[in-house]
């Protein structure tokens, strides 16, 4: 028995170097796979910034690169939120832009003149490689087996749940934030394990970076204190915990306050109070613990518990009192909607209107995580079996993140890392068990149980109870091959699924649309850019464009024209004003548009092409948001028919038919079809024979497939008439006056 043991030991010594190299190569390959699976969009379409928010980030990055850091920091943007402007430098998370700015300048210094756009497009794939590496590190901290780390890295690299936000061109905060999230957790685990100020300070540093990059940093702010709190409650307080937590909190809070957008929030808002509370708690626990060591006394244990409880109650009560009295800002709306899913729908339509804030549908979990969704609980269960400090973290993280992912679609992103880690732990357990070709000998009792015992390395009181199983006959090659074969098939299916999802669901830029022609070839629909470039080239530099807020960033980025509202949505009233202008009659809308100096109005209309994400489908949100501010003037009920249907055809309500949005969408649409044949292909209905008439605005541009329609707001009439009568005059509906005039003329001829 001794000889083989020393043999394997020797093998491990010689094999260590090779293994290190292999591990390195494998990680490199995983990073390569992670990057390349995100390039579908570049290959299918082109190197272009996607969707909505990335356009703003791109614009801000360009500004940073052109004007330098300090003017970026003090940037006041007068080209958005038209009459108001936006203190952009103080109201954004600068991490993303600064990162790509730094990369840009570094490459310049290396005499590699790369276009800033390409850096922005490829930033997310690049960071996904780093995320895979960070996941490897995190998982390696959790279990001894290195294969778990590699599996986790591979899972993280290609799982659709993360790819959905990090394909090439999706230049959003999440692109770097997920890497920072995972890496911060890794540093935290490291700090807790070693009880080191150094790791704690590094955690704080990366936490600060995370704060500068994404609003989701609050997740870390609450998760780490929760971890510490649970450890304390489990009676696992140790000086290591004190060192790591306090050094993280003291430095991390200061670091987070450096970001102007965050400012004093860490000491003012309720979301950050838990970390402060645990900070105070850990001081007290540390002190009491210190005294207990000095004075061994059994009473102390009970006293400690009582003290912890009392202080928790006092702190919580104080928090409630302070929140009620208004010293601490109450929870922001987005957080309420996390606890009560119906909250947003009732109180804040603007949050509810964003599709990524909707609750997750259950197929989305399978779609985004595939087989990991059933491996995940197994991994969490394994953590329960040997509950070391860092595995407690996994349990807490998975419970919290599962809940949040169920509440809000976009928070699937925070769930993904832990799912990868946990399922990799479960999967590597299977592989490690069945790939071990050794057949245990007679005296292999220890040998057989050493495998699970490895997991239970940090032996806990009850660690061995469940692992002392008798040897069962799974040592035959047949049974092993079955299990290994099955797992290989699962892995292959997983890769297939991920690739399929990535290429089909997540690689569309949504600025450029693709469709298939009947012969199977790809047809690119490029209406958005067509229209934005029309604006850029045919309108004066400071022509204000009014559109629904979804398109604000794109207009700012691609057309470079001032907008009234954009995706920042910081001013609900302003958005409601636009909503009111869109949903009211022309006579009401025109003064609003004049007051806001609107020159052009842009609507998205998918009726011709069957593009369902158009403004008529979003129209009810405009109505709802406007109704939130002017309940007297805009009423959602009036847009529904008697039977409560939302219709655009003949039976649409008069309010609907007279609304500016309806008119702009369907203006002149009839002329495309034979008389009475006009159909809307999104709603699948036939439209009224007579199309709407416009008087205060005129059609300026309609893109190839009619997706974007731009209207010019008319100047006030030269003769001081209102526009209705002016239009009527131009059209020749001037019967009354004409007949009066015709009289004398007829006389004169005769």
């Amino acid at each position: 028995m001794a000889a083989p043991a020393s043999d394997t030991l020797l093998q491990q010594f010689t094999g260590r170097k090779t293994r290190g190299v292999l591990r390195f190569v494998i990680l490199g390959l995983i990073a390569g796979a992670a990057v390349s699976s995100r390039l579908f969009s570049v290959i299918r379409f082109e190197s272009i910034i996607h969707e909505f928010d990335p356009w703003f980030n791109f614009r801000a990055t360009k500004y940073l690169v052109q004007n330098g850091f300090y003017s970026f920091w003090d940037w006041f943007d007068d080209r958005t939120w038209h009459p108001l402007g936006r203190v952009t430098g103080g109201t954004l998370y600068p991490g993303l832009m600064v990162t790509s700015g730094v990369i840009y300048h570094a490459l310049r210094a290396l005499t590699l003149p790369v276009d800033i756009r390409n850096i922005c497009v490829l930033l997310a794939p690049g960071f996904s490689g780093l995320t895979a590496f960070a996941t490897y590190l995190l998982t390696s901290e959790m279990v001894a087996s290195p294969s778990a780390g590699l599996l986790a890295a591979a899972f993280m690299g290609i799982t659709p749940g993360y790819i959905s936000r990090s394909v090439a061109g999706s230049y959003d905060n999440e692109a770097i934030a997920i890497f920072l999230l995972v890496f911060t957790f890794f540093l935290w685990i490291k700090a807790v394990k070693n009880g080191s100020m150094f790791w704690g300070a590094l955690t704080a540093l990366f936490y600060g970076y995370m704060v500068s990059a994404w609003g989701g940093y609050v997740f870390i702010t609450n998760l780490l204190p929760l971890h510490a709190f649970v450890l304390i409650c489990m009676g696992r307080y140790s000086p290591r915990l004190y060192v790591s937590y306090t050094s993280w909190y003291a430095l991390g809070t200061l670091a987070s306050m450096q970001i102007p957008f965050v400012g004093f929030l860490p000491i003012r808002s309720s979301e950050h109070m838990s970390s402060l509370g645990v900070f105070g708690l850990i001081q007290i626990v540390g002190f009491v613990e210190y005294v207990r060591v000095q004075l061994p006394n059994k009473q102390f244990q009970t006293l400690l518990r009582a003290l912890v409880f009392v202080i928790f109650v006092v702190a919580f009560g104080g928090l409630v009192v302070l929140t009620v009295s208004g010293t601490i800002a109450p929870w922001s709306g987005r957080f309420y909607s996390l606890w009560d899913t119906a909250y947003a729908k009732i109180h804040i339509p603007i949050i509810a209107s964003v599709s990524e804030h909707q609750p997750t549908a259950w197929p989305a979990f399978f779609f985004d995580l595939s087989m990991m969704i059933w491996l995940f609980p197994a991994g969490v269960y394994m953590c329960f079996r040997s509950l070391t400090d860092e595995q407690v973290f996994i349990v807490i993280y998975s419970v919290l993140a599962s809940y949040f992912a169920g509440v809000m679609v976009r928070l699937m992103l925070t769930l993904t890392p832990i799912v990868c880690v946990a399922s990799a732990m479960a999967f590597s357990q299977i592989l490690d068990t069945y790939l071990d070709a050794k057949i245990p000998e007679q005296g292999a009792k220890e040998n057989g149980s050493s495998d699970p015992a490895k997991v239970a390395a940090a032996v806990l009181p009850d660690g061995l109870r469940s692992t002392r199983n008798p040897l069962v006959g799974i040592y035959s090659y047949a049974s092993r091959l079955t299990v290994i074969g099955a797992s290989t098939v699962y892995l292959m299916l997983f890769v297939l699924h991920c690739t399929w999802v990535t290429s089909n669901a997540y690689s569309s830029p949504s600025v450029v649309l693709a469709s298939r022609l009947p012969d199977g070839s790809q047809h690119i629909i490029d209406d958005y850019r067509e229209a934005y470039y029309w604006l850029r080239q045919n309108t004066p530099d400071n022509a204000k464009v009014m559109s629904w807020w979804d398109y604000g960033y794109q207009i700012g980025g691609m057309a470079d024209r001032p907008t009234l509202v954009d995706n920042n949505t910081w001013n609900n009233t302003h958005i409601a004003t636009v909503g009111k202008a869109m949903s009211s009659r022309e006579e009401v809308s025109y003064p609003i548009m004049r007051q806001h100096e609107v020159d052009y109005v842009l609507v998205v209309f998918g009726g011709l092409l069957g593009y369902s994400g158009d403004d008529i489908n979003k129209f009810l949100w405009m109505v709802r948001i406007a109704e939130g501010i002017w309940p007297e003037e805009v009423k959602e009920r009036n847009f529904f028919t008697q039977r409560g249907e939302y219709r655009v055809d003949e039976e649409a309500t008069p309010t609907m038919k007279n609304s500016l949005m309806y008119k702009m969408s369907y203006y002149n649409y009839n002329s495309l079809f034979p008389a009475g044949q006009a159909t809307d292909r999104v709603r699948g209905v036939r439209l009224p024979a007579e199309g709407p008439q416009l008087s205060t605005i005129e059609e300026a541009f309609t893109s190839e497939n009619w997706i974007i329609r731009i209207y010019k707001v008319k100047e006030p009439d030269n003769f001081g008439r209102d526009h209705q009568s002016a239009t009527a005059f131009d059209k020749g509906h001037k019967k009354k006056r004409a007949s009066k005039r015709k009289g004398p003329r007829v006389l004169r001829v005769e």
């Binding site: 070693n194 009880g195 080191s196 100020m197 150094f198 704690g200 300070a201 704080a204 540093l205 140790s238 000086p239 290591r240 004190y242 060192v243 306090t246 050094s247 909190y249 003291a250 430095l251 809070t253 200061l254 670091a255 306050m257 450096q258 004093f264 000491i267 105070g280 001081q283 007290i284 540390g286 002190f287 009491v288 210190y290 005294v291 060591v293 000095q294 004075l295 006293l303 003290l307 009392v310 202080i311 006092v314 702190a315």
Partner: protein, 143 residues
């Protein structure tokens, strides 16, 4: 109950050994004479057994606690007008206090088994690193 609460409010400052009297108040629910003995015993033990270096650290922590408390008092009495400045000063105190406490814990021979990998030199290097970061942030924040 009241003394306990008082202690919880001054939690960051009540951590060091120098504030053992505060602890005694929480124990005083029992026998007053007994408590006095205990306090005296703890104090004597502290004076005798604590190494000189650790005592130095304790003095520094006491100083930081006093400075922090003074700043807090100033903030309450006079007002917090340059709030940045107050926060920076106060959190510099708290942060430094916490870091010093960590250093004290790590270098304490009693905690040897918790910190097997951390030598006193390593602990001090960590301390310097942490303090650098802390003061960088504070100076940046103070405006």
């Amino acid at each position: 109950m009241a003394p306990k609460k008082a202690q919880s409010h001054t939690a960051p400052s009540a951590q060091s050994a120098s504030s053992t009297p505060a602890k005694s108040s929480s124990k005083s629910s029992g026998n007053a004479l007994d408590a006095q003995e205990i306090v005296l015993g703890v104090w004597n033990k502290y004076v005798e057994k604590t190494p000189q270096r650790v005592k130095l650290l304790d003095c520094f922590m006491l100083f930081l606690a006093v400075v922090g408390a003074l700043q807090f008092l100033y903030c309450i009495i006079v007002g917090n007008f340059p709030f940045n400045a107050f926060l920076a000063g106060f959190s510099a105190c708290v942060g430094q206090f916490v870091l010093t406490a960590s250093l004290r814990i790590q270098t304490n021979p009693e905690n040897k088994k918790e910190f097997e990998t951390t030598s006193p030199e390593r602990a001090f290097a960590d301390y310097v690193f942490g303090s650098f970061l802390l003061h960088f942030f504070c100076v940046n924040f103070i405006n």
